[in-house]
Symmetry: C2
Subunit: 464 residues, 2 copies
């Protein structure tokens, strides 16, 4: 690889590989500045004091732990999250924990609001930072947890103990890489890599480049067990046994597609290091004319089912959209349509988008019956169709065949009439039951460039 | 079953089942009349004398055997075939057998012409009968034959010895049944049941109704071995070991479809005896307008490849047409088209006819690559397409996928441009190589109602 001189990088670029040169420039962009670190540390200290004061005022027996990336030095420049956990005694009744947790939260973050994970907590703002103030139980070890959030302090302790400055810096690189390729986040829209998982992988492999090297060569199922204490089997393509819980796969949410994406970009980045993998340009949103032109060029038939986006959090919305899209695709395929690709996008409205080889099928469909020699079935088949308005039953090879009238000849008719038959996400299903959706086909879908122009851009230029 | 009175049948109809009543009427139509039998016997006797005289004149040591259905009393009324075999000594050189055989033939049938099976023979007319005069070798048993025709006298002797009057009558019924359903004949167009096979089945099962009962319950592979001496395994759906040759399957040519057809009609005839199974009406040929109306009703796309029928005997022509049709269908399917049904018909012109769900496909085709984790293949796939004018490679599930330009978007373009790529019968292939064919699509195929109106009628009303 050719060494290149990059002024202003602060390292003698002539000594660096392309990979080092690129990552060095990325580090310059993702490492928090000294001023940022100091501001954050000071703000966090004041926040923790406020929480401790509130606990004292309320005469509550609990301690305070900072967790998350800003507690471990693994945050990417510009992140403004401070996570504070308040640990209550393990035998405090659940309703007391919830009540006291909210009381402390509301006192510390008077402008905050309540959110709900496994139990309620307070989210608010403090000196310009986004703060989560979460009550949990103080348990002996992570296998004794009463609620998923009780695990977080153990994760924090495990990582704080092991992440050196250099490893923390590599975690930032890896996070930015995952963000750049769209694989960062364990939310159910992304189904990608959580911060904790990213940190474990850098720890396990010993650095960012080492993690890329490993990922480039993964043969799923990949199983990592840093503490060598796993007790269960998993079906997931990537398994990273939680060092604080032998029964938990930290990577359970990661989809096969995200594993493949990481492998793809790991190889690309190692073979041809480029900064834009970390900081990709947003695609130019397509106009309606662009969408029409793409469809015409592809010679396909488009179908969109449009409805008002259900009022759900993203972790409920996106699984329902995915399920609905898969249900629509399977329904169309079962009805004889050839689906090339599909997508589901949400804004104020949501759409299930399907691209078909053809939106129209013949009036008849071929239906193969049993071999003639399977007497009972064969006779049953023949008798069932002999007096129906079908072509046949006739004999093809050793089987009976009929060509019968197709129930649904167009994809639009399928979407108009048979959508309630398919497996849909719950809220989408109830909209569909009530007829609260409309169907667009072919050039009609072009209007969806507003608001989905960027999504269409990625759809029609999908090269990763 | 309800007994019915059929006047004129010559049996007390009140005592008969529907099945007996129907077959009794069929017997009336297929049994040769007494006058016919006598005329045939007399003519055959005179013919054999003429052959013996010719052998004496030529001073040749050979004997004369009458074979075939008219020799065994199993012919169907109106058949006018007399088969005479001249058996020469087994050590006569082949060229002498051929020379002497033709000499005798030409002397007995001065208006005849030479035909060629495994060796030449003379075909001609005698007192209004169609005569085959075939030279063969007189061998000790059928396993010692020097040519396939040497086997025939053994078949004849085997059957003459065993076929009673009643069984011979049932053979006639079975033959007419097979003729009626289109399954009679071991030629390579029909791929059905030969006369000899029909006779063996009636012998083996003990009658026509018994053979139908058996066929209705066949579970292919069906193996019959009347002499219990078979020494080989066969792949064919129906295996009847030749009583005169343990290594030969008499039913080798019977297609799975013809086995299924016999099973189907056997069940129908037993369940609902009808004379028209034996004597079906020819369908009314379709007009061009009929063909157009059918295609419009079916909503399909039609494609026909038309060429002058190669000058071949039927046993060569039809296998070549079948192979060509199968090659075209496979080629279209490999190119992404969905074929509903196909046919191949011959007259002065021949056509390969294909009915498609759609004659036009999208401009792009989806091409799935390897899973991303199969590093070498995956990287090879990515590199091969990364700079091509395709959509992708993108990641779908755990795989790379591209959508690339489809080579051939229409079935017509496939037939115009890519027909030489597919597996065709030899003579069809050379016509295609020379561009000596044309392609008709959709409503253009309607003109083929001339001369294929009857074939179209069966195609669009295929219920057996």
């Amino acid at each position: 690889m050719q060494a290149t001189f990059f002024p202003g990088v602060g390292v003698n670029a002539a000594d660096m590989s392309d990979f080092e040169a690129v990552t060095s420039r990325v580090r310059e962009r993702v490492d928090p500045t000294t001023a940022e670190r100091e501001r954050l540390r000071d703000a966090a200290d004041r926040l923790v004091s406020r929480v401790e004061d509130a606990l004292a005022d309320l005469d509550v027996d609990a301690d305070v732990v900072r967790v998350g990336s800003t507690a471990r030095g693994t945050w990417v420049r510009g992140d403004r999250d401070i996570d504070v956990f308040v640990r209550f005694d393990a035998d405090l009744p659940r309703e007391d924990l919830e009540r006291l947790g909210l009381a402390v939260g509301n006192r510390v973050l008077p402008d905050g609001h309540e959110e709900y994970a496994e139990h309620p907590y307070v989210k608010g703002s403090f000196e310009g930072y986004d703060v989560d103030l979460v009550p949990c139980y103080r348990v002996a070890d992570a296998t004794k947890i009463q609620s998923a959030v009780d695990r977080t302090p153990f994760h924090n302790a495990y990582l704080v103990e092991r992440l050196t400055e250099d490893l923390a810096a590599d975690v930032r690189l890896f996070k930015q890489f995952l963000k750049g390729i769209g694989a960062y986040g364990s939310d159910l829209r992304t189904r990608g890599f959580s911060g904790y998982l990213t940190e474990l992988l850098v720890l396990e492999y010993g650095g960012f480049e080492e993690a890329l090297d490993a990922a480039a060569n993964w043969h799923p199922q990949v199983v990592l067990d840093p503490e060598d204490h796993g007790t269960r089997e998993f079906d997931d393509p990537l398994v990273v046994i939680d060092p604080t819980d032998p029964e938990r796969n930290v990577a359970a949410v990661v989809s096969p597609e995200q594993v493949a994406r990481v492998q793809h970009y790991a190889r690309r980045l190692l073979a041809d290091p480029r900064e834009d993998v970390f900081f990709p340009e947003e695609p130019e949103p397509l106009t309606p004319a662009d969408v029409e032109r793409h469809l015409a060029r592809r010679g396909t038939s488009a179908l969109a089912v449009r409805f008002e986006t259900p009022d759900l959090v993203e972790d409920q919305l996106y699984p329902q959209l995915r399920r609905s899209r898969e249900g629509l695709v399977r329904g169309l395929e079962d009805a004889g349509f050839d689906v090339l690709r599909s997508a589901a996008w949400a804004d104020d409205v949501s759409i299930l988008f399907v691209e078909l080889a053809s939106g129209t099928l013949p009036a008849i469909e071929r239906h193969d019956g049993p071999p003639v020699h399977v007497e009972e079935h064969a006779t049953g088949f023949y008798d069932a169709y002999a007096n129906e308005d079908v072509y046949g039953p006739f004999i093809d090879g050793d089987r009976y065949v009929v060509e019968r009238e197709r129930e649904t000849r167009t994809a639009v008719a399928f979407a108009d009439e048979r959508l309630p038959e398919v497996a849909l996400g719950a809220r989408v299903a109830s909209l569909v039951e009530d007829g609260e959706y409309d169907v667009l086909a072919d050039e009609e879908v072009a209007v969806l460039a507003e608001p989905f122009g960027a999504a269409f851009a990625r759809y029609f230029d999908p090269t990763p």
